[in-house]
Homo-oligomer: 333 residues x 6
C-alpha cells in the first residue's frame, strides 16, 4: 500500500513508490559521490539522499521515472529527508496514477458509460456514426478518460475533461426541453465533442502543462482537426451539418477575447456556450473554495483570474436552518 509523503514522520521506515522530479549528484566532504533526489506523490514533495552505492543505485532510473524505494526518514536542518537504502525504477503499469496526481472523485469508467448512454440519445445517423467513430478509437478514449480539463481554472485533475464533458452533456436534454426549437442531436453531439481537443492541448503524464501544440494551436482548433479527420471517414456526412457542428466547437468560448475565433450565431451555439461556461465556473469556484478559505473565515482568498473574493455562507448556524441544500447524490436516488 502506498505510503504518502505527508504522512511520513521522523524515523519512519519507508517502503513505497514515488515519482522522481529531480536527480542531481554531489560530493561529500570525504570525497564520495552521493545523489540528491526530489521525490513526490499526490500528497507533496520531499528530499531523498542516496549515500551508499550511490552511483550504482542511481544508474537504474532517471528523472521523471516512477521508483520503488526503501529508506528511513531523518531530520536534516529541520526538514525531513529520506536516506535511501534501495531504489529501482518501476514501469507505469505498476503504479496507480491516482497515487501521484490529483484525480476526479468519480469513477472514470462509470462516467464514460454514462456518456455513452447519453450519446445513444443522438438520433441523427450522421452524428451518431461520428460519435461512434470516436468511441471506437481506443487510444483516443484512453486519453479522453484521463485528461484534465484545464491546467489552472477548473476540473484540474485527471479525469476532469470527462467529468466536465459529462456534466455539460447531462444538462443538454434538460435545457433542450426547456426551450423549444433547439436541435437536441446537434447540441448533444456538440456538448460531447466541444472540448475534445484538450486531449492534445494538455500533457499530464508527469505534471499538468500545455503541450507545444496546445500553446501554438489550442484545443479549439485541435478539436476541429480531430472532428474533421473522423468526418473524412464518413463520405456522405452533410457539409452543412459539419459546418454547424464545427461552429459549436469554434464558438463555445463565446467571445473573441476568450479565444473563440467565432461568436455563437445559432441558438445551439448560444446554449452550449452558457452551459460550458457555467459548468467551468462552478467547478472552478468549488475547487478554489476547498483550499482557499481559511479556518474561521467565510471569505475566500483573492481569486486572481476572476479578480474577486468569494463568500461561503454558513447556512446551518447563522440563519436558523436553511436546510434545503442539494447534494448531488440525492438526485440519483
Amino acid at each position: 500500500m502506498k505510503t504518502y509523503i505527508n504522512e511520513i514522520k521522523e524515523n519512519d521506515n519507508v517502503d513505497s513508490f514515488f515519482l522522481v522530479n529531480e536527480k542531481t549528484s554531489g560530493v561529500t566532504k570525504t570525497g564520495n559521490i552521493y545523489f540528491k533526489l526530489k521525490l513526490s506523490d499526490r500528497s507533496g514533495e520531499m528530499e531523498g539522499r542516496i549515500w551508499t552505492f550511490a552511483e550504482k543505485l542511481a544508474s537504474s532510473f532517471e528523472r521523471d521515472d516512477f521508483v520503488h524505494l526503501k529508506g528511513k526518514a531523518a531530520l536534516f536542518q529541520e526538514r525531513l529527508q529520506l536516506n535511501i537504502a534501495s531504489i529501482e525504477k518501476v514501469p507505469e503499469a505498476a503504479i496507480l496514477f491516482s497515487d501521484f496526481f490529483p484525480m476526479t472523485e468519480n469513477d472514470p469508467d462509470h462516467m464514460f458509460q454514462t456518456l455513452l448512454e447519453i450519446s445513444r440519445q443522438v438520433k441523427n445517423q450522421h452524428l451518431s456514426r461520428l460519435l461512434g467513430l470516436f468511441w471506437e478509437d481506443e487510444p483516443f478514449v484512453q486519453k479522453f478518460k484521463m485528461a484534465p480539463a484545464s491546467k489552472r481554472l477548473h476540473h484540474t485533475y485527471l479525469g476532469g475533461l470527462l467529468e466536465h464533458t459529462l456534466s455539460v452533456a447531462r444538462l443538454v436534454p434538460e435545457i433542450a426541453c426547456h426551450y423549444d426549437g433547439l436541435n437536441l442531436d446537434l447540441l448533444l453531439a456538440g456538448s460531447i465533442l466541444h472540448d475534445l481537443g484538450k486531449v492534445d492541448e494538455l500533457s499530464y503524464h508527469r505534471a499538468f502543462d500545455y503541450s507545444d501544440e496546445g500553446r501554438l494551436i489550442g484545443h479549439i482548433i485541435l478539436g476541429i482537426e480531430r472532428v474533421q479527420a473522423k468526418i473524412d471517414l464518413l463520405p456522405d456526412f452533410p457539409r452543412d451539418l459539419s459546418t454547424l457542428l464545427k461552429h459549436l466547437l469554434l464558438s463555445h468560448h463565446g467571445q473573441y477575447i476568450w479565444g473563440s475565433p467565432k461568436r455563437p450565431m445559432t441558438l445551439e451555439a448560444v446554449v452550449l456556450h452558457y452551459l460550458d461556461d457555467m459548468d467551468a465556473k462552478i467547478n472552478g469556484i468549488k475547487q478554489f473554495l476547498k483550499t482557499q478559505v481559511s479556518e474561521g473565515s467565510r471569505w475566500s482568498a483573492y481569486h486572481r483570474e476572476f479578480d474577486q473574493f468569494f463568500y461561503v455562507p454558513d447556512y446551518q448556524d447563522n440563519m436558523q436552518a436553511i436546510d434545503n441544500i442539494k447534494q448531488n447524490g440525492q438526485k440519483e436516488q
Copy 2:
C-alpha cells in the same frame, strides 16, 4: 370584435376600439375647425379625421385615451385615413390590453399559478413568508403579471416579466440537483424576486418606456427597496439571510458594466446570473429572429445590441432530417 388597423381597406366601414396617440386641431380652407388623430392598436397606426361636429366630438376624449369610433376609410394622398362619424372615450376596463400591445403567448394566470407552485418548494420559513407577502400584495401581483421584462432586448411584451421569471425559476431545481452544495431555497427565492423591480422601472400602459424612477434608480435598486419593505414586516427575518438574498438581486447582471453594483460572490449568485442571462439571450434572439430574417435568407439582420448576425439552420431540408428538435409542448406531456 376588434377590427385591426392592418386589415382596414379603402371604403371599409369601421366600428371598433382604438388608442389615441395624438390629437391636434386644424382649420379647413373654408374656415372650419377639424381634428387630426393618430390612432393605433397592436397591428399598427393610421390617421383619423373629424370633420363634422368636430369640436363637440373631440371634447369627449384626450390623447392617450381608448376610444370607440365609427367611420369610413378613404384614400388621401395615397394613404388610408379614417373619416370619423362618431367617437367617444371608453374606460380601460372595456378594452382588451392584448388588442393594443404585444402580449405573451402564454396565459398570465396559468403562468402565475405555476410560479406559486414553485414558490411552495421553498421550505425555509423566512423566505417562504417573504414570498407569501408578495403574493398577498394584490396591486403588486397585478403589475407583476402584466409588466414586460424589457423595453427592447427580451420578453418585450405584456406578461414578459412573469414569463421570464417563471422560465428562470423552473430551471432552478434542475440546476440545484445537478450541482451539489447549492441552497435551493435561497436560489428559488432569488430567481423569483430577481427582476421584480421591473414593475416600477418600466411604464407600459400606453407604450413601453422607462419611468423616471426606472431611469434614475433602476430595477435592481427598486427591487431591493420592495424586498426590504416586505422584510421590514417580518421582524425576525435573519439579517444574514437578507444580505444573501439582496446580494442575489444586486449581482444578477454579473458585471459592473452591465449595471450590477456587485459581482456574484456566492455559488447561488453565480448560478442565478447564468440562468438569467441565458434565458434573456435565448428569448431575445428568438424574438429577433421572428421579424428580422428576410424571406429566402437564413441569416438575420444585424443585431445592434449584440453586434452580430444570427443564423437559422434549415434542419429539415439540407441535412437529411435532423428530426430531434424539441418543442416546449413535448415537455409538459
Copy 3:
C-alpha cells in the same frame, strides 16, 4: 463592346450585356403584363422595362443571370430607364467579369506567375511540396486568382486576394534579410498561405458577400482545413513543421479581438502579422481615399471602421516640391 450604364444618355440605343439583379412583373393600366428589371454592371445600376412580348421575353432568363439586350433609354419621372426590345440570357463564359465587378488593376496571370517565382525560393522540401500541391490544384488556383481579399476593408475587388498575398510575400525576403534569425522558408510559405481560406469565406460571383461557411467558420479555420488536407497527402511532413505553419495562419490577425484564436508566439508569426496588417491598412486607406475625398478638400470623409479621418497632403503645390514620391512602377525598372 460593353456600353456602361453610367455612360447611357436619354434616347441612346443600347445593345450590350448586363447583370439582372431584380426581376418582377406588374400590370399596366390597360391590363397587360410587363416586367421591371434592375440591371447592373460595374459602373452602376438602372431600371429596365419589357412592355411588349413581356412574358415570352422574360421566360428566357432569371434574376442573377447575365443577359444580352437591345433597347432604348428614356426618361421616366426624371430618371432614365431602358425600354427593352429584345433580351436573352448569355452564359458566364460570354462575358468579361471585369465588366461587372470591380477588379484589380494588375493582371492576375502575371501576378500569379510572380507568386510562383517567389514560391520557388522555398528550399525546404516539405514546404516546397506543400505549395506545389496547391499550385497543381486547378480549381483552387482558379478561385485563388479571382477572390477578393475582403468584403469591405481592403483589396475589395476581384483578384484582391492574390494581389494582397503577392504584396505580403514580396516583402518577406526583404524583412528576412533585415532581421537575422528568421526562417525564410517558413515565413514565405506562411505569407503565401496565410489568407487562402478566403477563397471559401467570400462568395463573389454575383455580389461580394460572406458564404455561410465564411461566417460560421471563418477564413482562418477554413485555411487551416485546406492546409491540413494537403498535408495529409504528404505522409512524412514533419508534425512540428505543420504546427509552426498552422500557428502562422492562426495568429496572423495578431489579437484575439481581431479573430485570431492565438497570438503570435514565434518571431516569424510576429513578422507575418505586421506585414499582413500593414499591407491591408495601406491598401484599405488608399482605396478609401480614391472615392472619399471631396473635390477641393484634402481631408477624407470619416472612415467608420478606423474611426478617424485621413489627410492627403498636397506635396506638389504647398511645399515647394517634395518630388521624392515613389511610384510602384519605378521599382521594376
Copy 4:
C-alpha cells in the same frame, strides 16, 4: 584590463575600475570608522569595505563616481566582499562605458555613418537642411549615439536609440518602393527623427532611468521641441511641411493608449507607425529570448508587458533541416 565582478573569486587580488553605487559609513566594535561600498560593473554588483585610512580614502570620491581600486576578495558571511587597500576617483574619460553598461553589439560610429548616408537620400532642401542642423549639433550627436531606446522594452542598451533609428530608416526606402504614392523624403526624415526626444527622456549615465522631463513631458513632445527649435533656425521652412513632419512624430505610437496624442492620418504616418512598432517588438522579443529561455526548454518565461509566452523553434533538429534562416550578415555581403 577590466576585471569583471562576476569573475572574482575568494582570495583574488583585484586591481580594476568600478562604479560606486552606494557609500555609507559605520563604526567597528573597536570604535573605528569604516566604509561600506556597493560596487558595480556590467557583470554585476559586490560589496566593498574600507577598513584602514577609511576616512582619508573615502574623502576622494562620492557615490556615482567611477573609481580605480586595489583590494583583496574575502568571504564574509558566505558572500564575497572586497577589502580595499587603495581607491581613487577616475574621470569618465578614463573608463570604457561598455565595461559598465550593456551596449549595442554594433559600432556606434559605423551605425552613425550609415545613418548619414541614408540622410543624404533626402532630396527636399528643407528637410535635408533640417537633418543637417541636427548632425552639426555635436552635443546632440554625442547623446544620440549613446542613448538607449527604452528602459525596459527594446534596445535597452547604450547605442540602442541609434540602432533602432537606423533599423527603421533602412526599411523606409524598401517600403517606399513597395507601395506607390509615398513621400520618401518625408518618410526618411520622419523615421530618422521619430524617437530623437529619447536623448532627453532617458538618463543613462549611471543607470537607465527616466529623467524628470522624460516622465513629465515624454520623448514625443521633447522631440517636437527639438525639431521646432531647429526649424526656427530655417526661416523659410514651409509651415505645411513642418506640420506634416511633426504629425509623424506625434502619431508614431499609433494609438492614444500608447501615448500618441494623435493617430496616424497620412499614409506616411501609417507606415512609420508599423515600421517603428515592428522593429521595437522584434528587438524586444529577441532580447527577451536571450535570457528568458531556460536550458532544455523551447518556451520563454512569461513576458509581462506582452502578457504572453514566446516559442523558439528548433529548426535544426526537429524538422529535418529548415536551413533557410537568414543571418543579418548575409545581407551585407
Copy 5:
C-alpha cells in the same frame, strides 16, 4: 438693423447683411445666365437668386463673403427664396460677428478684464512675465477673445474659449484654499494657458471647424509650442518651472484615451484636470439641454458623445418648492 433669416416671410422686402455660403450659376430656359446663392446668418439659411444683371452683380463678391443685399422674398416650390435686386460685398469690419455666429452671452471684453485681474494674482515673477507676454501679443489676444472652445462638445460659440478659461481660472483660488499644499501661481498660470492652443486648432471665421494643424497636431501640442515660443523670450525662465507648466498642459485631459500624452503626476495637474473636465461637462450638458429637451418632457434626447440621457427636474412644481437654486448673478452682488 439686421433682418434675420428666420423672420423673413413671403413678399417681405429685405435690405440687410448676409454671408454667402454657396454661389453657383445656371441657365434659364430662355438662355439667360442666373446665379443661385446660399445665404446665411446665425438664425438659419435660405436660397437667393439673381435674375437680372446677374453676371455684373455676381462679379462683385465671392463665396464666403459678407454682402449687403436688397430683394424680395417669394415662394418657389413651397420654399421661400430671395429674388435679389442689388448686392455687394461688405468688409468684415462692417458687420457684427454676433449676427452671423453663435456667441457667448457674456461680454468678451469684460471677461478678458476679469481674466487679467486673475492673472495679477500670480506672484511668481517668471510666470507673471510669461502671462504678460501673452497679454501684450495683440493678434493672440484677438483670437483668444473670439475663439470657441470646441466644435461640438462645450462652449461651442464665439468667445467660448475665453469663457471656459475664465470659469476654470476663477475656481482655482477657491480650490487652492480648500486643499493645502497646492502651488497657486502654477495652478493659476496653468488654468489660464491650458487650452490656448485652441486659437490655432479651430478655424471659426466662416464656420466652426478644425484647421489642418488642429487635426494633425492638436491644441495640446499647439499650446505647448506657443508657450515655448514665449518662454524662449525669457532667458532666465527656470527649466524646472517650464517643465511643470508644460506638464499641466500636456496632462489636462487626464487620460491617454482622451488625447493627453501624459497623465497628471503632480497635485496641481490633478486639480486642473478635474476643474477643466467638470467645467466642460457642465457647460456641455447645459448647452445640450437648451435645445434637446422636447416640450412637455423632462428627459433630454440621447447625447451621443456621453452615451446617455439627461434629466431636468421640475424643482418648482413637483416638489413643493425647492427654491434654493443658485443663479450665477447672485454671486456677484
Copy 6:
C-alpha cells in the same frame, strides 16, 4: 500615558495598554505551559510572553481585547519581546482609539459641528428634516464620526469618512454659486449623505476591513437603505425628491465600472461625482506621498491602483521661490 511599541527598547520596564492580536499557548522544554501574544498599537506590533502564572493570567482576556500589562522588554533571537508580569483586560471606554489606529488629524467633534452648520443651509423643509433625523440618531452619529472613508484608497483613518464628507460639502456652496441653475439644497443634502453607507461597509474596531454586508451589498446600497428608512419616517416626503436624492447616491461613482449602478443624469449628480472623485483622489495622493517618497527623491513609488508614479516638485529650492503655496490654515484666518 501610552508607551508606544516603536519606542520600547531593550530592558525597558513597560506599563501601558495594548491590543491583543493573537494569543496562543505553548509548552516549555521543562513542561510548563506559557502563552505567546501578538501585541499592537498604532505604532506597530511586538511579541509578548507570559511565563509565570500563565494560565491564570491568560484566562482574563481574549484575542481582540485591549489589555493593561506590565512587563520588561528583552531581546530574544535578535528581536525584542515583552516578558509579561501582569496583564488584564480593560474595557474599550478605558482606552483612546487614537492610540491604536490611525486617526484624522482634525478634531471629529469640531468637524461634526461644522457639518451641522452646513446642514442648516438647507432650506427645503423635507431635506432639512431628513438630515435632522440622521443627526438625532445617536448610534449613527457615533459611527459616522469614527468611520474611515476607505480601506486603502483615501481617508483611510478613523474620522476619515467625516473628514471627506465635510470637505465635499464645504465645496458645494462655492460650486453652486459658480454655476447657475444648480439646486443647492439637493446638492448639499446629497453631498452630506453620499457616502453614509460606509458606516456599515467597513468594520474598524480591531482592524480596517470590509464587513460581510460591505462586500455583499456595498456602501452605495447600504446608504440608500439608511436614507429610505429615514424617509419612511417622513410621510409627506415627496417621492420625486426622494428619487432625485437617491439618484445622487447611486451615481456618485460616475461610471458602472466604478460600481455605480447608474451614471449621473442630473446636473447636481454630475457635480457631486466630480467633487467626490476629486476630493478622494487628492486626499489619496497626499496620503500616499507621505510615506511613499523616498529620501532624496522627488518621485513617489509606483501607485498600484492609479497605475502611475507621482511627482513632488521642489518649489522652494529649484525654482527661485514660487512662494504662493496655499496652506489650509490660511483660509480660516
